[in-house]
């Protein structure tokens, strides 16, 4: 590495030149050879440009033969008995890769060795309630290959839907012929899965960050220093552009803490999802459902008379129309938070899938041109994803503020709505 570093530095230094009265006339033509006057940026750019070479790193020519034979045997033995073939060709490897990034799992796995099947991962606890509390580490599942035993009950992860079912010692899952769903009993699953770990990390990060930020204000006499300089404009923006215009001067303080929490929570979770760790919290319907549910509860539980009046008996509309519009408005009360949930979920989920597919495309085109182009596309798409992360957090917060504003609206004396 150091050799390459010094070589690059020397290449770049040869091309740049510092104008000097003695050599300025002779060497003026060398000015055209400047690639970049900032050597560090040049080196980083060269490194990034060589990254598509990694697509040649995987060698699967020899191992596919062995894997294909083994998988044939297993398939012949027992179809759907809990063991299934390892992914061999590129397409199913890419599917497994996308699945690892986008779906939830009971262990936090960082990387996997394709040849030996060994994986570096942290096994997370599995907590089940099945007439009694069962707690065990997900390492007992051995990545879905074995039956875990706990206090006399046996549990297995079903391969099709990734959920835990109670089985007997052999791990049989009996499927319903019509629907294809297993008929085994499902215990209530309170496990700490990868998504739960990610939201706990985000929450911890927020607590530490903002409490230290608050303390730094007291120390520095009301001026932000360090990380406060990034967060203060954001917080002030949320207060002045999102909260006050939508909720109004009188009541905005009650909702400020929730709006700030939502904004930074969604933002941090979205940005965690862009890392290679495979964390996909906001792309999970349950998480966005919980956030939208809290917005729904806060809106409807702190609403005043005028809010309900505007829904059921809206002023400024002829009486027969009001009877027709009331059910639609009532439906709207539920659909608005529902759309919050779907919007955040679909944006982040779809973005991740497209991004991972394009990265996988890099391994399908095993050529100079194809891989570099798909790498470039993936890079640009990642930048777009950062914009989407901010935008979706902002939109969620703004729409929540809008709904809160309509919940605490004052009585208008004009009738034209």
């Amino acid at each position: 590495m150091k050799i390459i570093f010094h070589m690059l530095l020397r290449i770049n230094k040869k091309c740049t030149f510092a104008p000097n009265f003695r050599n300025v006339k002779k060497l003026r033509y060398l000015k055209d050879m400047v690639i970049s006057n900032k050597p560090l940026r040049f080196i980083i750019a060269t490194f990034v440009a060589c990254l598509p070479l990694m697509s040649f790193a995987n060698q699967e020519v020899d191992s596919t033969q062995v894997h294909v034979e083994a998988s044939h045997e297993q398939v012949a033995e027992g179809h759907g008995e809990g063991t299934h073939a390892e992914p061999t060709d590129v397409k199913s490897k890419i599917k497994a890769f996308i699945g690892h990034h986008v779906l939830d799992s009971h262990d936090f796995s960082f990387t996997q060795d394709d040849e030996t099947g060994e994986s570096w991962s942290v096994a997370l606890p599995v907590i089940l309630w099945d007439e009694g509390l069962h707690t065990f580490s997900s390492a007992k599942f051995h990545h879905g290959k074995e039956v875990a035993e706990s206090n006399g009950n046996y549990y297995v992860i079903n391969h099709h839907d990734g959920k835990i079912y109670r089985t007997d010692a052999a791990g049989t899952i009996t499927e319903n012929e019509e629907t294809g769903f297993p008929t085994n009993i499902r215990p209530i699953d309170f496990s700490i899965t990868k998504t739960v770990v990610s939201i706990l990390i985000a929450a911890l990060l927020m607590i530490l960050l903002f409490s230290s930020l608050a303390k730094s204000y007291a120390k520095n006499g009301g001026i932000a220093k360090g990380p406060g300089r990034i967060f203060e404009p954001l917080v002030v923006y949320i207060r002045d552009e999102i909260a006050i215009p939508n909720i109004g001067e009188k009541n905005y303080k009650r909702y400020m803490s929730y709006l700030l929490t939502i904004f930074f929570f969604v933002l941090f979770l979205n940005i965690f999802g862009l890392t290679p760790l495979g964390i996909n919290a906001t792309g999970n319907l349950s998480i966005t459902f919980a956030l939208a549910l809290i917005t729904f509860l806060i809106t409807n539980l702190t609403a005043n008379r005028h809010y309900w009046g505007h829904i059921f008996w809206m002023p400024g509309v002829p009486k027969p129309m009001r009877i027709i519009l009331a059910p639609i408005e009532l439906l709207g009360v539920f659909i608005k938070p529902f759309s919050l949930m779907i919007r955040l979920y679909a944006n982040i989920f779809a973005g991740h899938i497209v991004l991972m597919s394009i990265i996988g495309l890099m391994f399908i085109f095993k050529s100079w041109l194809g891989s570099s182009l798909s790498f470039g596309l993936a890079f640009l798409l990642s930048i777009l994803e950062i914009l989407v992360a901010f935008l979706q957090a902002y939109i969620f917060t703004m729409l929540s503020a809008l709904y809160f504003g309509s919940a605490v609206q004052e009585h208008h004396h004009d009738e034209a709505h």
Partner: protein
């Protein structure tokens, strides 16, 4: 991914694209008329675009 699904997805993209395009074009006209209000116009445009995209994604899910 059968044919009706693909046609449905295409129609959804047409609808969302038309909607956001119209918003974008009127936002550009407004900014051209009053460059000093461009901040507010940008904000409003982003909000409307996000709402339309919300419907687009929800429909894309059903299809």
């Amino acid at each position: 991914m059968e044919i009706p699904q693909i046609i449905g997805a295409g129609l959804i993209v047409i609808g969302a694209g038309l909607g956001i395009g119209k918003i974008g074009s009127s936002a550009m006209d407004a900014i051209a008329r009053q460059p000093e209000a461009s901040g507010k116009i940008q904000t409003a445009m982003l909000i409307a675009a996000a709402l339309i995209e919300g419907i687009g994604f929800a429909a894309l899910f059903a299809a």
